[in-house]
């Protein structure tokens, strides 16, 4: 596809006899039809959305119940295997990348919506339910599920929980962690525990916050209770073009300074506009420097006021043109353009490397210039399409893998982008997760003591480090007094990823 070129492929070789015993145990645990151990079947699961790195798991199971997940985890542990959970495999940071010799537990067959409780605004779902299907189920009643990653039509709730997924509308409504209230979790010893509660403020520490965003490193969520929201009375969308990202950035700041909390504000620069126009056929102008796509929602009178105020601000900020969709279909098309932006990059570049850094909103213009300059230094273009309201950049470093050295230069630019974000006081990831991809940058954002404290959380849940070992942390970490089997990160073994 249009991702990074393959960095290296490592296929584990395992004695046949052992696989047979494993096959037998896994079939007992989850049923034969839910097991994959043949090489061609396994190859489907060698990577997630970060396609540049591939590692073949030793076995894959697709359990259908909590009990089957627990049984599969017990089998894996009995065979000394690491366990890597996976949803739809859309993650962009390698969170669901197999580790060498692991059991990959794929939750995509756990697709039941278990309960819908409109009165309490809660739904209990299995982890394989597609994000958008939650909303589809309750849309007829006027409710929706707020977190809306761009992959929402294919990504799963379980994957969203692992990554604490966001989306354009989390500016106003928060991230996955703000919308999950309880969960059933299978732990590394195969036990099952309930965390959180339907009611607010369950007793004790906030274990939901420990699990959401843990990138598959503490357990496997097999059921989740999510909050659902009433659809706002009115949503107004507008699309405004600007001479450059400077004016567009200033517009975002001015809107926020005016006391308006938009539901979403997305910025799209000229390169990204070009790609989206070529790919989706939206009739956006090509001769502009940047565009903003913005939603304001809420009650009718409030939105009419804020939308009018925002348009006025955009005009004063130097907008070239301001469009409002004439109907729901046109609004949907605008958003489709935005959400299809990554896929559209293929129209302007054979390959791209996407980053997910975050910066304080006030520094958007400055940082975008630094990013462009970092790209230029390596002779590469960088397209930007991102969540401007919360400063969550998605710089797309464009390159051609067929040109020797370009992929490497793209990685250098991508790394430099994260350094720029950190210097601006931001973060290396706003919603894609650390996973494999950004583990080596964690040490630039956090000290050893910071990481040790985070490791306390992980080790509390999984002292043997059975789940997703080698992810998130820049250097392998033990769990102190409780010894376990350490699994080196496969990319390290393959010599393809260094850690800093």
């Amino acid at each position: 596809m249009h991702e990074r070129e393959a960095l290296g492929v490592k296929v584990s070789t395992v004695p046949t006899l052992e696989v047979t015993a494993l096959e037998r145990d896994l079939a007992t645990a989850v049923g034969q039809r839910n097991c994959i151990t043949d090489p061609s079947g396994l190859s489907t699961y060698e990577c997630d959305g970060l396609t540049g790195t591939r590692i073949r798991p030793r076995a894959v199971v697709l359990p259908e119940t909590t009990e089957q997940v627990a049984a599969a985890v017990r089998v894996a542990r009995a065979h000394g295997m690491a366990v890597v959970p996976r949803g739809a495999g859309t993650g962009l940071s390698g969170g669901a990348l197999p580790v060498d010799g692991c059991l990959l537990v794929v939750l995509s067959r756990m697709t039941k919506i278990l309960t819908v409780d409109l009165e309490n605004r809660r739904m209990r779902v299995q982890p394989g339910v597609i994000n958008l299907d939650v909303t589809k189920m309750i849309a007829p009643h006027g409710y929706y599920y707020a977190p809306d990653p761009s992959s929402q039509s294919v990504c799963t709730i379980g994957g969203n929980i692992a990554e604490n997924s966001g989306g354009a509308h989390c500016l106003k409504y928060g991230f996955t962690v703000n919308h999950v209230v309880a969960a059933t979790v299978v732990l590394a010893d195969g036990s099952v525990v309930e965390i959180g509660a339907n009611a607010v403020d369950p007793l004790g520490y906030d274990l939901i916050a420990a699990v959401v965003g843990s990138e598959g490193m503490v357990g496997i969520v097999t059921e989740a209770v999510v909050r659902i929201l009433r659809v706002p009375e009115l949503t107004r969308t507008f699309f405004a073009t600007f001479p450059s990202t400077d004016e567009a950035g200033a517009c975002v700041s001015a809107i926020v300074s005016a006391g308006i909390v938009p539901a979403a504000v997305e910025m799209i620069d000229s390169l990204a506009i070009e790609a989206i126009v070529k790919s989706t056929g939206v009739d956006w102008p090509l001769d502009v420097g940047a565009a903003l796509l913005m939603d304001v929602d809420g009650t009718k009178a409030e939105v009419e006021h804020t939308a009018a105020a925002a348009v006025e601000i955009a005009r004063n900020a130097g907008a070239i043109e301001i469009r409002t969709p004439k109907d729901a279909a046109e609004r949907l098309l605008m958003w489709k353009g935005r959400k299809g932006a990554f896929a559209a990059m293929g129209r302007i570049s054979p390959n791209y490397y996407v980053q997910d850094g975050v910066i304080p909103r006030s520094q958007i213009s400055k940082v975008l210039r630094e990013i462009a300059s970092a790209g230029a230094t390596q002779g590469l273009r960088v397209a930007n399409v991102f969540h401007a309201g919360d400063g969550n950049l998605h710089p797309l470093v464009l390159y051609d893998a067929r040109v020797p050295g370009e992929a490497h230069r793209a990685e250098i630019v991508a790394g430099e982008i994260l350094s720029i974000c950190l210097r601006a006081g931001g973060s290396i990831t706003g919603e894609h997760g650390v996973g494999t991809d950004k583990a080596k940058y964690m040490g630039k954002m956090f000290t050893d003591d910071d990481l040790e404290s985070m490791n306390f959380v992980r080790c509390t849940f999984d002292p043997q480090r059975a789940f997703n070992p080698g992810k998130v942390f820049p250097t392998p970490r033990l769990c102190g007094d409780i010894p376990g089997h350490f699994h080196a990160h496969p990319t390290e073994l393959a010599g393809t990823a260094a850690r800093g």
Binding site: R122, D201, A209, V303, S362, G426, G433, F446, D449, L451
Partner: protein, 420 residues
């Protein structure tokens, strides 16, 4: 300096560091000397939790009162733990911003204390609780290490979520040194409505207001002696928006209460009632249940508890105050057991209240909720009613977190859930 006693346990020494370095030095020294350490901010919620088993060193955070970083354009602020809520709001207001959290007693309550106790006020109906507002934290750990989690940007998924782990941790994991918070704009208008309604009708009005897509910033109901509630709804926003919402709510509410009326001072009234019902009384409880249970809760959780207080008070004082956040499923009941009776009669009275709390807790737990005793000055009630109730099934994981962060159990020992 604030009180040097926590739930009857006197601290051996009290220190009020004025820099984070000094605070760190205190924790390093305590670690070396194997001393227990407790923390106190504005002392507004010191009654919450079990009595600590021992307090060798009490760290008073109120001199850690600096705003570390505030860029209005980013709508994020980082403060030291001892900054009071009122001081923070005063710092933000000139820029048209606020922390959208209106916990009681803002002049005393510190940000560190609010995080530690997961405190909140009526605005929670719209803006959520501390876990929805905190974006970064720095700790001083039991071993004296200074660590950070989260960051100073609102959107950030790098690493495990230490900020939210601090929320409600009651000083049991680490000292909260600094807190980074996301901010919201100050509302141009905040317009209220008052109505008097039965618990059943409150449930209906709340449901109906969501159905017609109103977005109240506050929904607060205080219980009257009759068993009815005085419901106050507040609508925030730009003037035209808040006004339109209020008109629609008035219209909606008229079906249930013909005397429903606008109240332009609703925010102040709500704050006063909220404070009264949450910060007064010898015995205070907080009940949480799924919100749709509110009407039933009045019948078999709140009502019986309120009647128990009423039955045992014989000096004409107001026996109890109850305030509910019906859209969230939260009810606070604060009762007073002052009376002129003999010691025997006092014990009987306290016993009745204790029984009523235990029964109310059972009813709340059956419905998937909980009842926490947030303050108790009555020895008999303390003796007979646990602070938290039934331990959650995930308690072993919580004990694990405590063991990892504070392996020697020296921080606020014994105070937290399960006497951790």
């Amino acid at each position: 300096m604030t009180t040097a006693t926590i739930r009857g346990i006197a601290a051996t020494t009290t220190h009020a560091p004025s820099t984070l370095d000094e605070a760190q030095a205190l924790l390093v020294a305590a670690a070396a000397a194997q001393q227990t350490v407790a923390f106190v901010g504005g002392s507004t919620e010191l009654g919450f939790g079990y009595a600590p088993t021992r307090v060798d060193v009490l760290i008073d955070t109120t001199k850690l009162d600096r705003v570390i970083e505030y860029q209005p354009a980013d709508m994020v602020v980082e403060v030291e733990a001892g900054v009071t809520l009122a001081a923070l709001q005063a710092h933000l207001a000139p820029h048209g911003q606020r922390l959208a959290l209106d916990a009681p007693d803002p002049k005393r309550a510190t940000i560190g204390g609010l995080v530690s106790t997961n405190a909140f006020g009526p605005l929670r109906a719209r803006f959520g609780s501390m876990r929805d507002l905190i974006v970064g934290v720095s700790f001083i750990r039991a071993d004296g290490a200074r660590v950070r989690g989260g960051g100073k940007v609102v959107k950030n998924v790098a690493g495990f979520d230490l900020p939210k782990l601090a929320v409600g941790s009651l000083g049991s994991l680490a000292m909260i040194a600094t807190v980074t918070l996301r901010l919201h704009p100050l509302a141009q208008a905040a317009l209220g409505v008052d109505a008097t309604l039965s618990a059943d009708d409150i449930a209906k009005v709340v449901r109906e207001s969501f159905r017609v897509q109103l977005e109240p910033a506050m929904l607060v109901a205080s219980r009257q002696d009759s068993g009815d509630y005085r419901l106050t709804a507040v609508f925030e926003g730009f003037d035209s928006g808040a006004r339109e919402q209020r008109e629609r709510f008035l219209e909606l509410g008229r079906t249930f209460d013909a005397s429903i009326r606008a109240n332009d001072d609703a925010v102040a009234h709500v704050a006063a009632r909220d404070y009264g019902a949450r910060c007064a009384g010898d015995v205070r409880v907080r009940i949480a249940m799924p919100p749709a249970e509110f009407a039933r809760a009045e019948r078999d959780v709140v009502g019986p508890l309120v009647r128990a207080f009423a039955d045992v008070v014989n000096d004409g004082a107001e026996p109890s105050q109850t305030i509910a956040y019906p859209s969230l499923g939260i009810v606070f009941v604060a009762g007073t057991l002052r009376h002129d009776a003999s010691a025997d009669r006092a014990n009987i009275a306290s016993g009745r209240v204790a029984d009523a709390i235990v029964a109310a807790r059972r009813a709340a737990e059956v419905r998937g909720g909980n009842l926490v005793v947030t303050h108790c000055d009555d020895a008999v009630v303390s003796e007979r009613v646990d602070v938290y109730g039934t331990l959650p099934p995930s308690f072993a994981l919580m004990r694990g977190l405590k063991d990892r962060f504070d392996p020697e159990h020296r921080l606020n020992p014994g105070r937290f859930l399960g006497k951790l």
